[in-house]
């Protein structure tokens, strides 16, 4: 597996055995379709607390679609349909009396392209607490979130400056801070570093290592090295073509990252991680 430049010693870190892991999400036979076209089907896996879980795979394999199921962002697309179940701490995330707004409060999201609001740095971080009515000691909350996102030292003297004046990497860390300010349990990251330069990417990855202690992180990435560097568990998705040529994403293999990158049990995973495909 010399094709993937990964420090294997680091990858072989011990994960707690199965029975000591707390399951945050239990996904069972999940499928997503847009206007009746299946984008993703038959996905079953578990996401564990305080783990970084990475979804890798070629373009169009449904990994971004999948991550958007966890905070019900697919609800915002009228044509999207979700079947199967996702249990969040044993509760059906798509149950009839679940409020998607409550879901998104507990399960935050960072997007592919930094999307700060056209407001000040302070107001960006304070937005979540304000809409959720968590306005006690707002200044402290904003400071704490910015510190957790490793942005505080760079912006503490210009909190009133516009967020759009920050660099791309800073904007993305601001979006992470914005997400942390509402104290979620889970952070979903949809290719959080794909629009950033290598130095900014490294900072985001370091941040994921830090945040893992307090949060559960799910990250979609295009970049295999990134998955290998940051993730405890990795899920590899691929594409099947149906009879009429429609592309549907499937889960090929889900295992400890070290296993996925060194001894994958599926030929397709091996081809992908060694760079022979994708």
């Amino acid at each position: 597996m010399a094709d993937v430049s990964v420090n294997l010693a680091e990858q072989l870190r011990e994960l707690p055995p199965r029975e000591f892991r707390e399951v945050v999400f239990d996904v069972d036979d999940l499928g997503v379709s847009y206007s009746g076209n299946k984008a993703l089907q038959e996905v079953s896996l578990e996401i564990y607390k305080n783990f970084v879980t990475a979804f890798i795979g070629p373009s169009g394999c449904g990994k971004s679609t999948f991550i958007r199921c966890f905070n019900r962002m697919n609800d915002l697309i009228p044509t999207a349909g979700v079947e199967g179940t996702i249990l969040y701490h044993g509760e059906d995330l798509y149950g009839p009396d679940v409020d998607p707004v409550e879901v998104r409060k507990r399960i935050g999201m960072v997007f592919q392209k930094p999307n700060p609001f056209p407001k000040s740095i302070y107001d960006n971080v304070a937005f979540g607490p304000r809409v959720l009515g968590m306005t006690d000691a707002l200044d402290d909350r904003v400071e704490k979130a910015l510190q957790q996102a490793a942005l505080w030292d760079e912006v503490k003297d210009r909190l009133k400056a516009g967020a759009l004046s920050l660099s791309g990497g800073q904007q993305q860390r601001l979006c992470i801070a914005r997400c942390l300010a509402v104290e979620p349990e889970v952070i979903l990251m949809d290719e959080p570093a794909s629009a950033l330069d290598p130095i900014a990417t490294t900072r985001i990855e370091d941040l994921m290592h830090e945040l893992k202690r307090d949060y559960t992180i799910v990250v979609v990435t295009h970049n295999m090295q990134q998955a290998a560097r940051v993730a405890d568990m990795t899920a590899f998705f691929s594409v099947t073509r149906g009879g009429e040529g429609q592309r549907t994403g499937i889960l090929v293999e889900y295992d400890a990252t070290s296993k996925i990158f060194t001894q994958p049990s599926d030929k397709r995973t091996e081809d992908y991680v060694t760079g022979r495909f994708g």
Binding site: P78, M109, F127, G128, R130, V131, C179, V182
Partner: protein
């Protein structure tokens, strides 16, 4: 000279005359528009500038052109402007928010609404005047008052406000809405705290341009009963005139002096409208955002 250099310097380019002809056509079109406007402005300005004085601003109209002013008309135009803004901005922005953020485009009635708003923007203003006369003045018995005039001008500019507000709302990128939803905002919070503030510069620009269109209108006001001779200050529920109506009346007078007075009135009206438009452009440039 080498063969290679020769090959790119060969003869006259193809289509040279067609290109020149087309350019000439474009320049002519531009010149016709510009020169007409320029001649008109120059003519009016030379005719009237001496009469733009304190009398024009502070005196009521009179049968004697030397002491006749346009105070009631100028005041009424200001009142009309306030009524237009107060009524058309909330209604127009509300409609735009519904159409952009809430309406399901798969429903036939929403599509019909959209098409009809486009059509309304193209309806001649006199038709609005007839509607105002039939519905506001007689139908609900408002009478020939300033408020009726303001309301009919509001209806006239409403489609323009809606279209401008929709464009401003549509220009707010979806990533902003998604970011707000992902933090646990409700739809109301997303619209009210993110989309609308980000769209305000565009909405303001469109509203001001619509206002300046409304203030220049004469025909619908004549139909809802703007009087041509009002010597007292207007009130919301009283008789009224307006600057364009006053100008129209002065031009119709036989005496040469009144035409000069009309030119002075036109200068004032143009100054108001051009100031509003310049303000709108300034606003747009200042707050224009690149996402």
């Amino acid at each position: 000279m080498s063969a290679a250099a020769g090959s790119i310097r060969r003869g006259r380019p193809r289509g040279l005359w067609a290109g020149r002809l087309f350019l000439g056509f474009l320049a002519t079109s531009l010149a016709i528009g510009f020169l007409t406007l320029g001649a008109l402005l120059a003519q009016v300005f030379l005719d009237g500038y001496k009469w733009v004085d304190a009398v024009l601003f502070f005196e009521p109209p009179s049968a004697d052109p030397l002491i006749a002013g346009a105070r009631p008309a100028i005041l009424a135009t200001i009142y009309l402007g306030i009524i237009i803004i107060v009524l058309s901005v909330p209604l127009g922005v509300g409609t735009a928010i519904y159409l952009e953020e809430y309406a399901n485009r798969d429903r036939w009635y929403n599509r019909m609404l959209e098409v009809n708003i486009q059509n309304l923007a193209a309806v001649p203003s006199i038709v609005y005047g007839i509607l105002g006369l039939a519905f506001l003045v007689r139908g609900i018995g408002l009478g020939r008052v300033l408020l009726a005039g303001g309301m009919i001008l509001t209806l006239l500019v409403l489609p323009t406000v809606i279209i401008a507000a929709r464009e401003a709302i549509r220009a707010v990128p979806d990533s902003i809405r998604q970011g707000a939803y992902a933090l646990g905002s409700t739809k109301w919070q997303v619209v009210w705290r993110q989309v609308l503030p980000a769209a305000i510069p565009g909405i303001a620009t469109g509203s001001i341009l619509a206002l300046s269109r409304g203030l220049g209108e004469t025909a619908p006001l004549l139909l809802v009963g703007a009087l041509t001779y009002v010597s007292f200050n207007p009130t919301i529920l009283g008789d009224f005139t307006a600057l364009p109506v006053q100008i129209y009346q002065w031009i119709a007078r036989p005496q040469e002096e009144f035409r000069t007075l009309a030119a002075a009135g036109i200068i004032v009206l143009l100054a108001i409208l051009l100031t509003l438009n310049a303000f709108a452009i300034w606003l747009r440039n200042k707050y224009e955002r690149r996402w």
